[in-house]
Amino acid sequence: MILTLKIFKMKYIIAIFFTIIFALQLSAQDATEILEKVDDNMNSETSITKSDMIIYGRRNSRTVTSVGYAEGKNKSFSEYLAPAREKGTKMLKLEDNLWIYSPSTDRTIQLSGHMLKQSVMGSDLSYEDMMENRKLTEMYDSEVIGEELIDGRNTWVLQLTAKVVDASYESRKIWVDTERYVPLREELFAKSGQLLKKTELKEVKKIDGRWYPTKMNYKDMLKDGKGTDFVVLEIEFDTEIPAYIFSKAALKK
């Protein structure tokens, strides 16, 4: 009788153990699958984006219009179109290098190291944020930690932990739309666990067969203010971009 009870208990424990392992594996697998689908929506071979960056200050707010070209994860080029003060300023990113061209001084400056953590045009975005084109699945291990409702839409809450040493943020928490596989909210954390930035992604539209947020608000949590809005005016995916665009010669053109 006692032996039967012991065997029953043992079976029970083994069953629970395997259920937990299976659930964990499933969760990890689900999280990776979700993240891959997010990457599919948010990343493309090439993209050309015309956007407005609205920077809110305590005295006034400014809108900076630019057009950006991106190819893969290592090449991007932006040209600022408005306002007049910013017009003609260009930025080129090749691999880990960033060059900025200023028409007023006719000089190209290369930024590197901690300089990349500086704010872009007084916004809540750093050069490092602007440069990051890598897929989330390449940089982070993920785990589903819950479900939440955001603006009436169901989301999975994913905890992302960096698996590469050069990730700008040690961990992230993202809320992914369960139907469209688009992040609706993102929180970026430092190694110490301090919340550094918060992003709200809205006005998700279907463009060229993929769901894409066209209005984003970036908030640097170490700064006062309403953050910076990034509004996509026009966007094209997987369009061929001439090679000269991603050259230093294009900066002075």
């Binding site: 305590r58 006034n60 001084t105 704010s119 007084g122 006062d224």
Partner: protein, 424 residues
């Protein structure tokens, strides 16, 4: 009687050498350390006033709240009218504009490529103004390592270590990249007119100085400034006066709800300087109290030893009919004379060392290689008339009190037992 005691002290070296030495050392230490401390603390206050706080500073309220971030987007506007008001209301003060700004400085090589780059702490001052007194106040002329002060728009002074780091020298071009008051990108080219040793490691490593008008142009700050600093025309900080000024000025804007309305802050209200000023005031007093206490104990002990040594002498004097009170008084007179001699020697030595330390100082730059805090790299003493009595009076009192305490024993001697004692 004084002559008699004086002769006795001179003839009996055992009675004078040790107490005089002890008093002299104590007085010397008090003066030298007090001079050193007030020199060091005073240097830091002066340095902070000249570079960071002024004797008073006027800013916008919003700027004052976030001053650590150098928030030029919250700068003071309509400064011409504000200057008129300040000059009218406080004519004893010189009012100067300052803009602190951050950014990146890039030094190009002959192929227009970066040969050096670094984060810069920019300071815009009224360099070209004949009346601002800023070049003298910041001692720029004497701090030049190479080159000259900027004389025209587009010229920049740079910390000598910063220039070395960038691989740049006088005459080279630098490109500045930062943000305007409205957050736009600011680019500007400058020519290095001179390199400067500020004597503050943090500044030597990352500061650039340009003229105020250049900063206004580059940072889009027309008729605006980050800060207006007020310096007393005699360049002496007067705590009570600036507190009254602040109250009068701020009272005028008390009903203004605008977050960009001006606000005046005194030196003591900035950079945690309030507690620092209190510290400076209390340190000297603390020194004197500790000195008097410690020296009283030491000299009491010295007096006791002397009393024991002179036990037989006092016994004979009592046996010869000298009054106890007279013996006690002569002992106190002796103490006064010894105290004066010791204090004079100690004060003289202390003043000499203080003056030498004031002139030459102690160079601590080697210990501050990685310092980012604003501190002078040479520590100096400061002579003040206070030093003439700060050690002298306690030196004298400690000697007298010590002897008064030890001399009480004289009154406990019984005449009846004296001869028995003297038989020994």
């Amino acid at each position: 009687m004084i002559r008699f005691i004086f002769k006795a002290i001179l003839r009996d070296k055992n009675r004078s050498v040790l107490p005089v030495t002890v008093v002299a050392i104590g007085v010397f230490l008090t003066i030298a350390l007090s001079g050193y401390l007030s020199g060091m603390l005073g240097d830091m206050i002066d340095q902070t006033a000249r570079f960071q706080t002024g004797h008073v500073k006027v800013m916008s309220r919003a700027y004052a709240e976030n001053i650590d971030q150098m928030p030029n987007d919250l700068a003071l506007m309509d400064i011409e009218a504000l200057h008129e008001e300040l000059n009218r209301d406080f004519p004893n003060y010189t009012w100067v504009n300052r803009i602190n700004f951050g950014g990146i400085i890039d030094a190009p090589n002959e192929n227009e490529q970066s040969k050096g780059q670094g984060a810069a702490m920019g300071m815009a001052i009224e360099l070209f103004s004949k009346t601002s007194g800023e070049t003298e106040r910041l001692n720029l002329e004497n701090s030049l390592v190479d080159g000259r002060l900027p004389q025209k728009s587009g010229e920049v002074l740079i910390g000598y270590e910063f220039a070395e780091k960038l691989g740049a020298k006088v005459g080279d071009e630098l490109t500045f990249m930062g943000s305007t008051m409205y957050g736009s990108m600011a680019f500007a080219s400058f020519e290095i007119s001179g390199t400067v040793r500020f004597g503050v490691m943090a500044m030597d490593k990352g500061t650039v100085i340009i003229d105020f008008s250049d900063a206004q142009r580059i940072l889009d700050m027309e008729d605006a400034t980050g800060e207006i600093m007020g310096f007393r025309k005699e360049e002496v900080f007067m705590q009570d006066e600036v507190i009254e000024m602040r109250e009068n000025f701020n009272a005028k804007y008390a009903n203004d709800s605008d977050e960009f309305a001006p606000i005046m802050k005194t030196l003591g209200e900035q950079n945690s300087m309030g507690s620092y000023l209190d510290l400076v005031d209390s340190v000297s007093a603390m020194f004197v109290i500790i000195f008097v206490l410690v020296m009283s104990i030491v000299l009491w002990n010295t007096g006791l030893i002397g009393g024991l040594r002179r036990y037989q002498e006092f016994g004979i004097r009592l046996a010869l009919g000298e009054e106890k009170g007279h013996i006690y008084r002569t002992m106190i007179f002796e103490a006064v004379i010894i105290g004066i001699i010791g204090s004079v020697i100690g004060t003289a030595l202390g003043i000499i060392v203080t003056l030498l330390m004031q002139k030459y100082g102690i160079d601590i730059s080697g210990m501050m290689k990685d310092a980012t805090m604003m501190m002078p790299s040479t520590l100096r003493s400061k002579f003040s008339p206070q030093l003439l009595y700060i050690g002298f009076i306690p030196g004298l009192f400690a000697m007298v009190i010590g002897n008064m305490l030890s001399g009480i024993g004289i009154y406990k001697r019984e005449t009846a037992t004296l001869f028995k004692e003297l038989e020994v």
